[in-house]
Symmetry: C2
DNA sequence: CGTCTTTTTGACCATTTTCAATCAGTGTGG
DNA sequence: CCACACTGATTGAAAATGGTCAAAAAGACG
């Protein structure tokens, strides 16, 4: 895993995520603590494995920039993508709290992460209850997303599922502040879409085509334009996010 | 919702869950705090809705006895069961932390729950970091279970999926201490199984029959004997739990 | 015994997968 | 600049998995 590039360190005070309207504000004390909690930064190349199933991670991370995804595989190689990881997301909590990670994380683009020391996490709980609360909040948020994903894979048709995934990614990218116009440069292949939806690549391709035929999206090599957000929401039957002032660390 | 039966109160010190080997021990101070945090108890009848999607729950619960399940539905009624709830499980955290619940919970058997006041949860974080940590731990555990479920629904065949679900329930019931011999009195219908696996009832029936033909299980009306735990694990390709000393509140 | 719920079955239909190519776009070395 | 190698997107056809419909059988229960 060629992920061990140490990068120059950004101060938490200058953290670009703080400027985004969807994240909550921090007190000076909190900032000082997080600044201390942070051990360094790490950059992973596209395709690099950031965390691997079975490992007992020594670190906890927050994504600063870039896209990644969480996934699990079966013995024969079948892969299920569980969720996508964007700036502001906390990663590696499972490996920090429990014995070992039960999923892997792979970078889609160059990913820059803040590194936090596993051992120091108890200090968050003893010294900064508000931040501890935020960690729980983020875990609950991930759970909520997984709930919706499970509903999608279990009960929505391929067409609805694909529509859901694309608006979902669109809205998340928007909230994470990584969007150029209505164009989401989703850095994923149709293979990734297939592994998220629980479909074959072939059928995924035909399904995306159908969405494109209806002028809802436009798929391009490793990118996708969202042409009709409302239309996608309608097809999927999803209500969308109403997330404001979410915390992060 | 006919769930409003107030029940007589059990002291946390006498909590039957404390005796089970799979749960962690508590300090005297923690016990005293939880005792105070607990507002009362509540009993729900089979079929009753304990928490409903869209509500802003005023309470947080821990299940003392009984089975329930978490689920979401689409507008046209399609239902996806997300996970099952057993003694020791924390319930309603989403509704406590965020604006509103995005899933419902329904009782399968008579369910007895401990009730905690939503407003007091911040006291857990400020006064009892170890318990706050436990809450996060439980959220991470739920996430892990959902990950495996998603893998199952997305990538396992109907046959593997069914095998997975049944050993999973068997092992959880065992850890929760609600098991009569190898016989799991799973209080669910094939309809519930279908809604968990993302299959139709008809196909679920045929799949369960195939498991029975291979002497892995024996299905009975609202009950299921696990005849061959190892066999089910092998079919599903799942490793099983290795959970010890889990926390609860 | 009659009613209700749950399980079981069979026939037929739809969605999705698999297999096998082909096509398009990108980057590389000559 | 072009041939060649790659990866990702597309297609068509055959096969399989799972869904729908309709109805019967089997328990559970008052």
């Amino acid at each position: 895993m060629d992920k061990d590039k140490k990068a120059k360190r950004t101060s938490c005070r200058d953290c670009p995520l703080r400027d985004l309207s969807s994240f909550r504000d921090f007190s000076e004390k909190e900032l000082a603590f997080v600044e201390d909690f942070k051990t360094g930064e790490l950059v992973a190349d596209p395709g690099a494995t950031i965390l691997v199933e079975g490992a007992h991670s020594a670190h906890l991370y927050t994504v600063l920039t870039g896209w990644a995804f969480r996934y699990k595989t079966l013995a024969d190689g079948r892969r299920q993508i569980l969720n996508f990881v964007m700036p502001g997301d906390l990663v590696g909590l499972q490996g920090t709290l429990m014995e070992e990670m039960q999923h892997s994380i792979e970078a889609l683009t160059p990913v820059r992460l803040c590194v936090f020391e596993r051992g120091k996490i108890s200090k968050v709980y003893t010294q900064h209850p508000t931040l501890a609360f935020d960690i729980t909040w983020m875990a609950a948020r991930e759970e909520r997303i997984l709930d919706e994903n499970l509903l999608s894979v279990g009960r929505r048709s391929a067409f609805e599922r694909a529509a859901y995934l694309l608006v979902y990614l669109y809205q998340r990218a928007q909230l994470a502040g990584i969007l150029s116009d209505r164009k989401v440069e989703i850095p994923i292949t149709q293979q990734h879409v297939a592994d998220t939806l629980g479909l074959s690549t072939v059928h995924t391709n035909k399904t995306l085509r159908k969405l494109a035929d209806r002028k809802l999206i436009k798929w391009r090599d490793r990118a996708c334009d969202i042409l009709d957000e409302e239309g996608l929401l309608a097809v999927s039957g999803w209500e969308g996010f109403e997330e404001k002032n979410r915390p992060f660390i």
